[in-house]
């Protein structure tokens, strides 16, 4: 008879276990219950997401994830970073191993449809370029007939470079290595003539190269790469939170609020600032968050301009000018929707 009891227990356990899988809560509930955010990052691109010498994660993508944590928990440090390769990143998100993917991922039609993902507001407008050793004497990408090119597998860059060479009727040979750091080692070791990727990544690789001045970017930019945080299809509330977190970073810059003056801005008479910082309540609640969410983001992480300048701006080793990533009223593409 004992056996029947064991059977009954097994059946019950199986039912409970499987049922709990089926009705797993929405992402926000899961994140809150867990107590920290799990963010998929690159882990090997200086300026975007890479641990510094003390093991503290730094970068534009890292700060985006920190902003989401600040919005949800009021504490930007409640993030666990999971370094993912280009090939792993989308399945990891689909399989719910991570809550949000902040890993210089390009928004494309296929990814938003067949891959079952949603892209939040762009946090970096990029384009694909070519990095070559100066001693090769190449002045244009059109001269790359027969070249060996290092490229990351599973990326839009891998497809763009194939398109570019097909369109120009040139032959080339790819060397694809999944780990970003191994790939850049192979390039700087001389395995390839060219390294191709998003311009921001090329700048990052060059910044940590043995002799950065020996390498030059070719003038051609062969693609549009809007890089944005990604979430799964089917959880609109979570999508809204991530989307509006990026917008909040932009809006703060537009309103002239930064991490230093945010406390004094609480006393501002401007109703836009008051709504934004939760002095006039409502915005946070609509997202299912605390009304102080935007205040916490700016206080702990900063505004978009601050994040850009500290991680990748002209005064960093990357030295990237704002360009397309400037605010709309200064001729850039960064344009946050109204907070009302």
């Amino acid at each position: 008879m004992r056996f029947f009891r064991v059977c009954a227990v097994v059946v019950a356990v199986v039912f409970i276990a499987t049922a709990s899988v089926a009705i797993a809560g929405e992402t926000l509930d899961a994140v809150k219950k867990r107590g920290y955010l799990i963010a998929g990052v690159n882990g090997g691109v200086f300026g975007f997401s890479m641990p510094d010498e003390k093991g503290v994660w730094k970068g534009l993508d890292v700060d985006t994830a920190r902003a989401v944590a600040a919005a949800v928990f009021g504490d930007a440090d409640k993030v666990k970073y999971v370094p993912l390769t280009a090939v792993q990143r989308l399945p990891a998100l689909q399989a719910k191993e991570i809550d949000v993917l902040c890993r210089n991922t390009t928004q494309t039609l296929t990814r938003e449809t067949a891959n079952g993902l949603n892209f939040a507001h762009v946090n970096y407008y990029d384009g694909q370029g070519f990095l070559v050793p100066k001693k090769l004497g190449v002045k244009s990408a059109k001269e790359l007939q027969g070249a060996t090119i290092c490229v990351l597998p599973g990326t839009t860059t891998e497809l763009n470079v194939a398109d570019f060479f097909r369109a120009n009727n040139m032959r080339w040979r790819p060397v694809v290595i999944e780990q970003t750091t191994e790939l850049s080692k192979a390039f700087f070791g001389g395995r390839c003539d060219v390294l191709t990727s998003d311009l921001s990544q090329l700048a990052a690789h060059r910044a940590v190269a043995p002799n950065p001045t020996d390498y030059a970017l070719l003038p051609e930019i062969i693609s549009k790469e809007p890089l944005a945080p990604v979430v799964r299809h089917g959880d609109d509330q979570w999508y809204d939170i991530v989307n509006w977190t990026v917008m909040a970073l932009l809006q703060a810059e537009e309103l002239g609020i930064n991490s230093n003056n945010v406390d004094s801005m609480l006393k501002s008479e401007n109703p836009r600032v008051q709504r934004f910082l939760g002095v006039i309540p409502g915005m946070g609640k609509a997202l299912g968050l605390d009304d102080k969410w935007a205040y916490n983001i700016v206080k702990q992480v900063g505004n978009y301009g601050q994040i850009f300048e500290t991680n990748v701006g002209v005064n960093t080793a990357l030295g990237i000018p704002r360009g397309l990533n400037e605010q709309w009223y200064k001729g850039g593409l960064m344009f946050a929707a109204p907070f009302r």
Binding site: F3, T18, V21, P91, T110, G146, D163, R232
Partner: protein, 398 residues
């Protein structure tokens, strides 16, 4: 736990006991229940996965096979371009895996057997060198070895423009080893045909020689005659075909060599790493196989007047193979499976291509399923072949 034996004398009339007291019937019921539960879990997982995929709007099915892959693959035994389909891209991956596994297994068996025999040598230095090789190679993780060899290839060889050329037509650079190959001629196809014919002739010759030896005791020099047949037939065809000599010589054009045949650093590093690693294990298996044969066998064979070569070929190996083959099979499977580490050093094996496909199509479940099926097929076919061979060399019980 519930299968208590009911052999007390009063319940021997089985007609009266209800079925839940009958251990045989109960056992059947348990099995049906367990099977049902497993089936339910499988059904649940399957439908739940489908529902989840649908909810997230992720595409399902193998429709992507016919779509354009639009990514390039570094090296391919068949012609491939970004305009080809995913199906062809995956086929390229399969062929690349077969290429590295097949060549790897052959080289591993040769090197492993050699090292294994040398390990038993009476020459102290040679035996110790073999022992050091085995210990070192076995103890370093194979992934580390692959990364090491890959770095050696691209760090220590010069760029193509300064390529080393030890003999004309052969170039070493960090783009790989490029060497001249004969230009494709129709006569080569006929040469291959005559080679096959030669193989058949050798097989017939061996049968005849064996029969003759059994009848008359005369030994026919099968080995030398076989080699002569195998070489002479294709050579004669070549001469008859006008002895074409045009070579496809690699030339430096722009960035890289054009023409000839290339062994890429990725392929070379993968092959070298896998062969050196696996051969260390094979060497130990071969040593164990040889040592499993009692010394008396050798002495008996020698006292019959057999030469050392004959002792090895006719007495030791046939018996040692019986011990060697089963573990050797598992080493072959290991090599095939370890070839998936190619992904770390950029060789486009099946896993690498399938991973890219998964990423570009977003269909992870189909992709991973495909990877499992393909490697299962590789492993099962290797096992099937080795089991057949094992049966062939197994001791015939009399």
């Amino acid at each position: 736990m519930a299968q208590e034996r009911t052999d007390s004398p009063e319940i021997t009339t089985s007609t009266k006991i209800p079925f839940w007291y009958d251990p045989t019937k109960r056992a059947i019921i348990y099995q049906v229940v367990v099977l049902g539960m497993v089936g339910m879990v499988a059904y649940y997982l399957f439908t739940n996965t489908l529902a989840n995929l649908e909810r997230q709007n992720i595409a399902t099915g193998f429709g992507f096979f016919a779509k354009e892959a639009s990514f390039e693959i570094g090296e391919s035994p068949i012609s491939y371009s970004a305009a080809d389909t995913y199906a062809r891209a995956l086929l390229v991956g399969v062929l690349n895996t077969i290429k590295v596994s097949f060549i790897g297994i052959i080289l591993t068996v040769i090197l492993g057997t050699f090292v294994g025999i040398v390990r038993l040598s009476r020459n102290w230095l040679v035996a110790k060198l073999a022992a050091i090789y085995i210990e070192v190679m076995q103890d370093i993780p194979v992934l580390l070895q692959l990364v090491f060899w890959y770095a050696v290839f691209y760090e220590s060889f010069p760029s193509p423009r300064q390529a080393l050329s030890p003999i004309s037509g052969v170039y070493f650079s960090n783009r790989g080893m490029v060497f001249a190959v004969p230009e494709l001629q129709p006569v080569y196809a006929y040469m291959a045909l005559t080679f096959v014919a030669g193989c058949l002739a050798v097989w017939a010759l061996r049968r005849w020689a064996k029969k003759r030896q059994e009848k008359t005791g005369q030994i026919f020099p099968v080995f030398y005659v076989s080699i002569a047949i195998l070489l002479a037939l294709p050579l004669a065809t070549w001469l008859l075909g006008g002895a074409p000599l045009q070579m496809n010589v690699p030339e430096l054009v722009g960035f890289n060599f054009e023409g000839g045949l290339t062994f890429s650093p990725e392929f070379a590093a993968l092959l070298l790493g896998l062969v050196l690693y696996t051969a260390a294990f094979v060497a130990e298996i071969v040593r164990a196989g040889i040592q499993a044969i009692s010394r008396g066998q050798v002495e008996a064979a020698m006292s019959l007047g057999l030469k050392p070569g004959q002792v090895l070929r006719l007495v030791i190996l046939p018996q040692a193979l019986r011990v060697i083959i089963p573990p050797l099979t598992s080493q072959m499977l290991n090599l095939t499976k370890n070839s998936t580490l190619a992904i770390a050093i950029g060789f486009p094996d099946f896993v690498s291509v399938a991973n890219t496909t998964i990423n570009q199509t977003g269909q992870a479940i189909e992709g991973v399923g495909l990877i499992m099926v393909v490697y299962l097929f590789f492993s099962l076919s290797t096992s099937a072949f080795m089991n057949w061979y094992n049966k062939k060399v197994a001791l015939v019980e009399r």
